[in-house]
């Protein structure tokens, strides 16, 4: 019996079995942890298992954020509210091995789930839900084999959970609110923020050892804002003096009012 092998998603292991005379059967059980040295593949990769996904805190429970735990993978900070993000998708941007975030391939069960701009998958909220449905995923950083196409950067390669012979399930609720936050530098007051995130997942057998089912639901209800600062015409540009009185006259019918005392502004025309 050979021990000490773990097959992870997208991984491959060399298993050299020596045959002995007189043995009619040979049994192979894969039970132990993986060796530190990868002998069977030249791929530079790392795995994120279900325990890591389940136990580590995730802002918005976006499982692709966990890819940044691997060496060579870094998040790219882009303004979430930037207008050009709508042209590119709102998923978590990752640079793998120094490549652009739009050169990666995200796969679930072997199917590419990149967004319409070949960027990271993500909703309008910028997160990838369903972490409870992801069994594990690997991050191929480079030198991967020809079976992984559609990418010159990295490959995020995930598989989903399936039901087993035992019924398992979980339910959860996460809440964030502005009362738990501090003001940032630009906030004059705390901007609105409240997020409810909840879900349930479960699986089990329909027929033992034969047919299984698994389901996962996750929902987000969020009300949020960021503080924006804009340049606007000052009181002087509107013809208002330091004491709040109009310094210029006159063009009757101006809809502008002095912010200090709501006196209609009277502005001189050329």
């Amino acid at each position: 019996m050979q021990t000490g092998f773990t097959l992870t998603v997208g991984g491959s292991q060399a298993l050299n079995i020596s045959l002995k005379i007189g043995h009619a059967t040979e049994r192979v059980e894969v039970t132990a942890t993986a060796p530190d040295v990868q002998l069977a593949s030249s791929t530079l990769s790392a795995e994120v298992d279900s325990t890591t996904e389940r136990e580590l805190p995730l802002n918005g429970r976006d499982w692709t954020q966990l890819a940044t735990l691997q060496p060579g993978v870094t998040g790219v900070r882009v303004e979430a509210g930037s207008s050009n993000r709508g042209n590119r998708g709102y998923g978590t941007l990752l640079s793998i091995s120094g490549h652009q975030p739009y050169e990666n391939n995200y796969r679930i069960n072997g199917i590419s789930i990149n967004d319409y701009s070949n960027g990271s998958p993500g909703s309008s909220l910028g997160v990838n839900l369903g972490v409870d449905a992801v069994q594990e995923f690997s991050v191929l950083i480079g030198n991967y084999s020809a079976e992984y196409g559609r990418a010159s950067g990295g490959v995020i390669n995930g598989i989903t959970k399936s039901g087993t012979n035992q019924f398992h399930g979980d339910a959860y609720y996460f809440m964030r609110d502005k009362v738990l936050d501090a003001r940032n530098f630009f906030d004059t007051t705390l901007p609105p923020f409240h997020r409810d995130q909840f879900g349930v997942a479960g699986g089990g057998p329909i027929k033992k050892n034969k047919t299984f089912i698994f389901a996962d639901y996750e929902g987000i209800r969020q009300r949020k804002s960021d503080t924006f600062s804009n340049s606007v015409p000052s009181a002087a540009a509107r013809g208002i003096g330091p004491n709040g009185q109009p310094t210029v006259a006159i063009a009757g019918g101006s809809p502008l009012r002095d912010p200090a005392n709501q006196v209609p502004l009277r502005i001189r025309t050329r």
């Binding site: 996962d216 969020q222 606007v232 013809g239």
Partner: protein, 63 residues
């Protein structure tokens, strides 16, 4: 004395008044936070069937 062209006057109403202490010349700062409401639902349904030790089938629906 400030001169404002009457052609510009109707458009000044579209600019909010400054609401903090920062003024640089003819411009001030208007700070605001508009609320964005988002609702998101995610559903996965997966079924597996094992025909034998070697053959299995799975189907998955993601909404």
């Amino acid at each position: 004395m400030t001169h404002i062209d009457t052609a510009v006057l109707p458009y000044l109403v579209f600019y909010p008044l400054r609401n903090d202490g920062l003024v640089t010349g003819d411009t001030g700062t208007f700070t605001t936070s508009g609320v964005e409401r988002l609702t998101e639902n995610y559903l996965t349904l997966r079924g597996d069937h094992r025909f034998s030790e070697k053959d299995s089938f799975c189907s998955e629906l993601v909404l």
